[in-house]
């Protein structure tokens, strides 16, 4: 993963068009309203139809972002209630990734994971330090877990560990890199659909109920769509179950890729790694994960870094695009059966957009409050009523 390794493998990157097409199908799974209005517009081209396409796109995006923001808020709440509340009386010392990583490793992660991803969003000035906050927890309690909280929308990550950088060596460094791996590889292991559950489909059903003129045809296809939702729900549950194991395997792979030869040997020698079971994974998933970790360490020690990446990412399942074609096809069918859109509907639906924007802004305000509480708790001046603990201190290392 270092520059030297990458430059030694100058194989040109080629876009696989079929994979792009499959990815588009996957994206359309969360853009049902927009797709539906496009089909209606193609059938009945009009100004009202064009307006409904734009409004549909806006509603789609707003609905998806509202769901995402709820996930972010849930994560923030878990961080406060499930983590900071339980660490009352502890002191949090803030460090940056630079304190734990060698310069070359830090530059590599910063360039290849952070800057590259965010450059697409015109946010190339954002660095790893802005997104990743590492806290060393000290205090009377001993911490049973190293933990990591990251969100899918703002890429904010909090890692809580027990030892400062000077005491983080060998297996401990593997653990820290593993947690950093979770934050940097979240987009690869957790697709948007995973966070969205079947909300996009439910939003589409609601949209059709609000806007469509019902006929026997739309009713039949709508019923088929509702039945298909059960299949997608099952598919979502399977993806969630796989994602946890996959996320651990990929984070292990990330960590193994950045360990020195000595550290790899130390991790390989450690017999106790096999008892680090994840309670949220079943026995088979835990066994598979440990086997993959041992295999990756062995490959890295032989210098076969490419094999580590290839084998690990071969385990990342592609979306089952044939299954995903079903919602896209059914949406198109509902669109074909729909009546031409009325101009007054554009007005009503624009009002809906305004409501959704207000809703989204409200959620942003709540997020701001949560962020403030988190920063206050981590920086030591907890407002009365939130914590009765002695004030923890933030020390910028």
């Amino acid at each position: 993963m270092t520059d030297a390794v990458l430059s030694a493998n100058p194989a040109p990157y080629r876009v696989n068009r079929l994979k792009v097409l499959k990815a588009l199908v996957s994206v359309f799974r969360t853009q049902s309203i927009f797709l539906y209005q496009l089909v209606v517009f193609a059938r009945y081209p009009s100004w009202a139809g064009a307006g409904m396409v734009l409004v549909g796109l806006a509603v789609n995006q707003l609905a998806v972002n509202i769901v995402f923001l709820y996930k972010v808020l849930r994560g923030r709440r878990q961080l406060i209630r499930g983590c900071l509340d339980r660490m009352r009386g502890c002191t949090f010392t803030r460090y940056t990734a630079k304190d734990f990583l060698e310069s070359s490793v830090h530059t590599d992660i910063d360039n290849w994971y952070v800057s590259r991803s965010l450059r697409m969003l015109r946010m190339s000035k954002v660095r790893l330090e802005h997104l990743l906050k590492i806290y060393v927890v000290t205090g009377p309690a001993f911490i049973e877990q190293l933990s990591c909280y990251y969100d899918p929308l703002f890429f904010d990550s909090y890692i809580f560990i027990t030892d400062p950088p000077e005491e983080t060596r060998g297996v401990r460094r593997f653990f820290v890199l593993h947690e950093i791996g979770h934050t940097q590889m979240a987009m690869a292991t957790h697709t948007a659909a995973l966070y969205l559950w079947i909300w996009p489909y439910l939003c589409f059903v609601l949209w059709v109920v609000l806007t469509a003129t019902w006929s026997a045809g739309t009713l039949a296809i709508g019923t088929a769509y509702l039945c298909a939702m059960l299949i997608w729900w099952e598919e979502w549950k399977r993806e969630v179950a796989d994602a946890r194991a996959l996320s651990e395997i990929v984070a292990d792979c990330f960590a193994v890729g950045y360990l020195s030869a000595d550290e790899l040997a130390r991790v390989a020698r450690n017999q106790k790694l096999s008892v680090l079971l994840d309670r949220e994974m079943n026995e088979l998933q835990n066994t598979t994960r440990l086997a993959r970790l041992r295999e990756n360490i062995e490959l890295m020690m032989r210098g076969d870094e490419d094999a580590v990446l290839e084998r690990t990412f071969a385990a990342v399942p592609e979306p089952r695009w044939r299954l995903l074609l079903a919602p896209v096809g059914l949406v198109a069918l509902v669109g074909l059966c729909a009546a031409p859109p009325a101009a007054r509907m554009v007005g009503w639906m624009t009002a809906l957009v305004v409501v959704l924007v207000a809703w989204l802004l409200g959620l942003f305000i709540v997020k701001g409050v949560y962020d403030n509480v988190i920063e206050t708790r981590l920086s030591g001046s907890a407002p009365a009523g939130l914590s009765s603990s002695p004030s923890p201190a933030l020390v910028d290392a």
Partner: protein, 139 residues
């Protein structure tokens, strides 16, 4: 060196795998015996609870060994041999016998060196709040 530092040192030398996983800070807290364990919820987490539990059990055995061997040197008014120490520890602490023989030897070797160095300078009884220790703590 105080008993607490001795316990940390033994854990680092004799139980390197567990020490590496738990980390120096957690091991120091375990040796101090004052910490409550904290489990967090949500996010992704690397669960070390089993390793910490194993270490906690070892810490209790170590304090018991130190206490008993320290008492032995005081009553013998002189250095104690490794063989005597081993026999005393195995007889007095049933849990000690269940440890891996190599680890037992390493522990006894290190504790005997410690109690023989300067018994007069040692604190009378290493203190550890664990309930399990109370049965061993009285001479």
């Amino acid at each position: 060196m105080d008993p607490q530092s001795l316990v940390v040192e033994i854990l680092e030398e004799v139980f390197p795998d567990e020490y590496d996983i738990a980390g120096p800070a957690n091991v120091r807290r375990l040796a101090a015996g004052t910490g409550e364990s904290v489990r967090v919820d949500g996010g992704s987490s690397l669960d070390m609870a089993q390793v910490l539990n194993e270490l906690q059990a070892v810490v209790v055995i170590l304090y018991a060994s130190i206490s008993i061997l320290h008492a032995l040197t005081r009553s013998a008014h002189g250095p104690v041999s490794v063989v005597t120490a081993q026999a005393t520890a195995e007889e007095s602490i049933p849990e000690f016998s269940r440890l891996d023989p190599k680890k037992r030897d390493a522990i006894i070797d290190r504790v005997v060196r410690w109690v023989n160095e300067d018994p007069a300078a040692r604190v009378p009884w290493p203190s550890h709040p664990a309930d399990e220790l109370q049965s061993y703590a009285q001479p």
